[in-house]
Symmetry: C3
Subunit: 204 residues, 3 copies
């Protein structure tokens, strides 16, 4: 289980690096810009979580994460972009990455004695801040804030499910699976049925 | 006194969340974007201060701050925007929030053994970085850097008054009141008499 | 040697503050905005390194760095901009600043037991993140990511040379000089011969 989570975490890092590269490419960044934005997208969420919790930053403690992020970035830069894959192809692995990052982040925050609401927020931060950082570095309004998609909200809901079930004395492993399933189901259902959040608009 | 400061700090968090919501609304963000930008505006300054000082982050140690920030954000999203209040109405509570955040931030930095100039800067950071973060997330040049208003400068001046008076052995409480009054008077006078800072302009 | 590095570090801070001021000026920021952006440019890279490593932040531990950054910023605001110096004049000291920040940053990360790849990345971060922060605060895509210049890449290469030579048991001082020379030679050669990095472009 521990081992599975580790490999799944590395896959999530790789998927996130990919979205960073695609976005950086749209801004015609050079090789080093693409590498930096890809790495920031892949590692940013967990880094902010660790700094806020005053934990050792995960990719400094174990540089395999950094190597995977850099390798994924370079692979996309030199290979994937020549394959003309449709961007929609990446939405499913991205949803898995989101679910995984969120649950791992929430779990880590709980183990670090964060209060429940903080833990759920840090879980969501782990899942989405990489993308926010990518958009800020690419000089755009963060996509996750404007599209009305159930993305950050799916993550937060899943984190709250995990926290809630643990408070009800459900075993941590079962709570983690339930939380992950919540993120995935909400995210995939929102994509399939175009469910959106209300958008702020001032009264005319 | 301790108790008064706590409630005043919570009010400042709520006021700051409000300005974040208004700005996020102008960018047509969705509910989750508004909540995230509101929370970042309300909690960002103190978070940067705590991370730089390697202190436990205040809203992780006591999640009441987070709850207030989220509640204020949701209240604005669902209620306040329907009331058509003039934005100028918020300038006075915002000035109080700035004064309070600045003085609390400076005091915390001094207690954490920061050198005097660092402490005054961290006080100003506590007061204004939330707004800077809000503007960066909304993809704008930070307002506090361009408008020429005495805002960050009022905060810095008040922080320096607090630091200076303490160095002259004035009691911490009296120094705090004097610093807070300085921020408020400078800020309100600048608004009333349209006093502005020089702007950088290259020689033609 | 220790002493030399300290003075060189302070010079690098001053040079970096300068580029921040010039950029902030182009956005017509006011005095406080220029000071904040100048200080963020000068101190940002080392701050991110220290926060990621959970070290005490360098300009909080020794406020001379902060004083130099502020003094350089004010000097540029009030004096240098009236001198009509050509911007190219600053490219050479900037290259020295980059080399120095990178090597000092890498060395600090190695002493802090960071793994080799992490240490080299943190060295590059020390060298370039100040400029990235400057561009984000000025609402621009970070220059270092788009121009195709050998800037961040020169820094990373020099950091890897330092790390590699130390792994081969070369003395730390000799490795530091070799790393610094690498950054400088690559950076200056790239400027002289207009060597550029490939840019990401999707296949038409």
């Amino acid at each position: 289980m521990e081992n599975l989570l580790y490999w799944a975490g590395l896959s999530a890092v790789a998927v996130n690096a990919l979205t960073g590269v695609l976005d950086a490419g749209r801004k015609r960044m050079d090789l080093i810009g693409v590498v930096m934005v890809g790495a920031a997208t892949a590692l940013g969420g967990g880094t902010v979580r660790d700094v806020l919790l005053a934990r050792p930053v995960f990719w400094i403690a174990d540089q395999v994460y950094l190597i995977v992020a850099l390798a994924a970035t370079l692979a996309v830069f030199f290979v994937v972009r020549n394959l003309r894959l449709p961007p929609r192809l990446f939405l499913i692995p991205d949803a898995f990455g989101l679910a995984l990052f969120t649950i791992v982040g929430t779990q880590i925050a709980l183990e670090w004695q964060a209060p429940w609401l903080v833990a759920s927020l840090l879980g969501m931060i782990t899942g989405v801040v990489g993308g926010v950082l990518r958009d800020v570095l690419c000089n755009e309004v963060p996509l996750v804030f404007v599209r009305g998609e159930l993305y950050a909200s799916a993550a937060w809901l899943g984190a709250l499910v995990l926290v809630g079930l643990q408070a009800l004395s459900v075993s941590p492993v079962a709570a983690a699976w339930a939380g992950m399933a919540t993120v995935l189901v909400v995210r995939l259902a929102a994509m399939a049925f175009r469910i959106t959040l209300p958008t702020y608009s001032e009264r005319e």
